[in-house]
Symmetry: C2
């Protein structure tokens, strides 16, 4: 196989296998090329990934070595994407009762959700993460996008048990916004003991939902090593109960009466 052909095939392979260690022999066998040629190919790919701002190839030396594609998104790419997202969201037509913003259309675009996932995977690329956990419904696509780049599975906390989950563990908690007791359930088989968990959700006000997830995860002896929310907003009635989270956007100065809202970059960009 020619270099030009190998470069296309290897780029495809690496993009589909982020965070996975790939041995040089794997490439030289698959594409019938000398190890030295494969090394040069990887050097070209590494340069171009950095040039495009989509990450880099990490070399791991030794007998069990190889390369690993670390899909960190460049600061320029990240800021440009979030600036554009803020512009789209800062539309007074999106204001809903309770100071929420209608985001379903934007969260319905796979390419947008994919980039949101990229940003979380970039923010958390050096943390210990075994699994991404979210709660149904809106956080799910974001969680999958982040998990794909982190190369870990997703576990979904539900509001209601379902027969297809098998036996479950549940916790009750008080939601900040509704002041009602709510339930969260998680399949017993879903998370191994003492897993390192990244929590992801689409929206956070006081943080009651995320706190509920933390309580539930304690039942599995999990360590929460990262918390990512797409949008944070202030709760008028309650103080924030979650610290040490990463937000991509911040919704501020919601004025339902005058139909005004400000959307800015979140604390990830501080």
């Amino acid at each position: 196989m020619k270099r030009s052909e190998r470069l296309v095939a290897m780029t495809n392979y690496l993009m589909n296998h982020p965070q996975q260690l790939v041995s040089l022999p794997y490439f030289s066998t698959t594409y019938a090329a000398a190890k030295s040629s494969v090394s040069e190919d990887l050097s070209i790919i590494n340069d171009m990934f950095q040039h495009e701002g989509i990450g880099y190839l990490q070399s791991v030396s030794g007998a069990a070595g190889g390369v690993r594609y670390i899909p960190v998104y460049s600061k320029e790419n990240s800021a440009a994407f979030i600036d554009e997202l803020c512009r789209k969201l800062a539309d007074s037509d999106r204001l809903l009762p309770g100071g929420y913003l209608f985001m379903s259309d934007i969260l319905g675009e796979p390419a947008t959700v994919n980039k949101i996932g990229r940003l979380f995977a970039t923010a958390f690329h050096d943390r210990e993460i075994d699994v991404v956990v979210t709660v149904a419904t809106k956080g799910i696509p974001i969680a999958y996008a982040a998990a794909a780049y982190l190369n870990v599975p997703v576990v979904i906390v539900r509001r209601d048990p379902k027969v297809t989950e098998g036996s479950t563990v549940s916790v009750n908690y008080v939601s900040g916004s509704s002041r009602k007791i709510q339930t969260m359930v998680l399949s017993k088989r879903s998370i191994p003991d003492q897993a390192n968990v990244c929590i992801v959700d689409d929206f956070m006000k006081a943080g009651g939902t995320i706190n509920g997830m933390k309580s539930l995860l304690q039942e599995f002896n999990a360590n929460v090593t990262a918390i990512g929310v797409l949008a944070e907003a202030e709760d008028e009635e309650e103080e924030r109960v979650v610290e040490d989270y990463t937000s991509l956007i911040k919704i501020q100065n919601v004025d339902v009466r005058n139909q005004r809202v400000e959307v800015q970059k979140g604390n990830y960009f501080n």
Copy 2:
């Protein structure tokens, strides 16, 4: 920029923009290369995509022409993936009451879900589809994966209205398995009038849920042009109420007492 570098960058770009028409001038401007060089690059990429079984580049001639990456997965790749999935699922430990199979762990793997989406996008690549619709919860990641390859948005039908959806349309229907009246709601802003819709879900027995979605979509004057389910299984009590669907796997001869189940390729492979 050298050919080798362009090939990496263009492969990355095309993989991230399936089904989108990209003009040759875009590539020659972005990578500062002559149109003839870009054409040769695209020819190499096209050959390799076909060689790897991940699709092909469609040329569109004329002033508004360019290339479009059609991400159809080869028959060999598709069959190999589904065979492996069937093997994983045909484990009696997965049997749940009611003849359901525990699939949450497998549906929690982003790479697996991504391939399921690729298969649906391959099955439906020549149909008119403006939007992929699914119902919360398990179908969501599959719907996003398919929609990413089809380059269309996702709309999620919910079981319960939520303030962040704005005003909604709802229908009641009788679920086949539970014989209970259930509700489905969809945000009014979510689907344009007369859209072409692809319905995707993880599991279908008699098809009551999918029929419910069809009823709800009638309220939006939508045309259902494709229905894809990951797994179909027979319902012991009710005849199937949905025709003209595509399934990737078929769960058969469920014997809860003797803890046995058969999992085979679905009708997509007929």
